[in-house]
Symmetry: C2
Subunit: 354 residues, 2 copies
Amino acid sequence: MMEVTIKDIARIAGVSTGTVDRVIHERGNVAVEVRNRVQQVMRELGYQPNIMARSLANNRKSLRIAAILPDYRSDPYWVQPKEGVERAVEMVRHYGVALEFHYFPLFDPQGYSEKIREALATQPDAVLFAPLFLAESDWLIQETTRLAIPKVMINTRIESADALCYIGQDSYQSGVLAGRLLDFGLQDGDSAMVLTLDKGVRNARHLLDKQQGFKDFFGRPESKSITIYYEDFEAFDDDKALRQWLKTCLQDRPRLNSIFVTNSRAYHLAAVLDAETQKRVKIVGFDLLEPNLQLLADNKIHFLINQNAWQQGYLAVMALVNHLVLNKPVPSLQYLPLDIVVKENVEYYLQMNR
Amino acid sequence: MMEVTIKDIARIAGVSTGTVDRVIHERGNVAVEVRNRVQQVMRELGYQPNIMARSLANNRKSLRIAAILPDYRSDPYWVQPKEGVERAVEMVRHYGVALEFHYFPLFDPQGYSEKIREALATQPDAVLFAPLFLAESDWLIQETTRLAIPKVMINTRIESADALCYIGQDSYQSGVLAGRLLDFGLQDGDSAMVLTLDKGVRNARHLLDKQQGFKDFFGRPESKSITIYYEDFEAFDDDKALRQWLKTCLQDRPRLNSIFVTNSRAYHLAAVLDAETQKRVKIVGFDLLEPNLQLLADNKIHFLINQNAWQQGYLAVMALVNHLVLNKPVPSLQYLPLDIVVKENVEYYLQMNR
DNA sequence: TTACATGCCGTGTGCGCACACGGCAAAAAT
DNA sequence: ATTTTTGCCGTGTGCGCACACGGCATGTAA
């Protein structure tokens, strides 16, 4: 059961461990025929470096990561990536990983810019961020590229940025999925509403993608014939206004039996529906936030699509560690599962992140 | 960013590293007041042993695991646990873990007994098994208990066995979940069939649990009023017989619009339905097997509940490693998520295990 | 008293790897 | 012919931990 070590390779190749080490790390100063011989032996014995010993010997170098995320206190959604990040850092503590958070206000491009500058001023070895604001992200992307600082993006993807990787949801596909779910519970001739509850980002890319996915699903021949309405409402914080607006929305559309809320704020909607409407209207939303869970348990929200926000944070840190510490390859694009959650299986997803 | 080491503790507590080591591993030969002092310092500094160094220093001991599972060549389902096990072993290779498979024929208690004896004869340090046959598992449980060999069970749970842990699906809950899904797509007055496609295990515990869960869901006030039929069919391998049997089943029940197949063999059923029936009947099955996936893509199976069989194998090995190598606590009961899979999100679950 | 056992503790070594350092010969510069 | 440089290679040390060994007191038996 003994593993193959550099000692074995050195012995068999008739060189010292130092030479084997030089070959492995391509540090030069090795004669060509010697190098070939060593590589040959490594291949024959199927040498795999012992990651334990490797990281033990490497422990002098530490990896400092700057994480730039929306303030979790301004929106419950962002608690999840934050906790995933924290958990990952805890797990790789022994690799000498240190991470510093830089929280910006969710709806404030100005504050975002400030935090970006603050983060880069600390001269991190790597950056983890959610580029919610495209224009303001430009400077960060250019600077990190210039300084050769690796970066991972979560939540929102900017294709032009040559990041180490993007980790997030496939927004388009989640729209398609929502269509599939509602289609199963609707009848021919029913209608559905795609509802955006957000502020000033009506045409944000990921929201548009979800709408498009939803629309495309109902364009498929296999789908039922459903009429789709698209609506925005910005004052989602104001229960009264929302209730009023919704009433007018529903009253002229008797067969509007389903609503697809394109972000994690379905709880605002479900909470203001009256009992009768709740029975009639099937709601699909996103993410396992506490208020959503409550309404799911009460059968007021029918499906939640879990975008695995927690995992996004976790995997983003792991991608950096894999790349910078363990020299392992990381996929440049990582879509997370779109879990379909109902109250009968929600418990499993909650317990995973604890 | 430096971690706290036993050296630090030794220095501050005014003892040697050897003494600290004795305290940590409770090996005795330490004066009471010295031990208390060391423990105090450890607590104050929040000492956490470096797992890299620990496993490096421990690498002499190796862990030999015997895995007793159904032959994956006799049933595609069992390919998944097998691959999960293999993957886990690969990941913890450096801990000195070696695993040997002992495959038994799926429907053969006799063969199961033989393999159990064969496995124990190799004197493993730990056992990983799926106790499909209760009576025959008795001997294994008693012997491993007598010899103090830790064991983990997957797939089927035997509560009386004092195993390290059970890892598997919650059968009852998966039945409830199937009920929830079909309920969403059915109308009041429709009916549903619970169909068991298995041989000679008609009253196996996990199948009964699924039936009960399904039934209980439709007993809830929130559910629609659905009539439920329970049927078994053993010759599921015989397409002709199955088609014929199904025909008679459906013809006297015009509103039988859904079938819940209680194991991973929904593909046998969906493959023999004629086009007209396929449109009418909604099918819920289990597990992401290749033939199931094909039919899911063709809209002939509507939902698959993923029991995460791959993860079962993976986590079972990890539980043993955590317990025996890393001295980490492991939960004695681990239910895996019941993923709801449709063709729009199936890709994510497939890519996870590759 | 001497001989021996026992409790308690420090020191040394090795796990597999990364990397600094220094040595030795051949090649280049003086 | 001599110094100096350069290419190539071996040796030594330390990462944090586990564990064997041996030492020094004190207590007990002869």
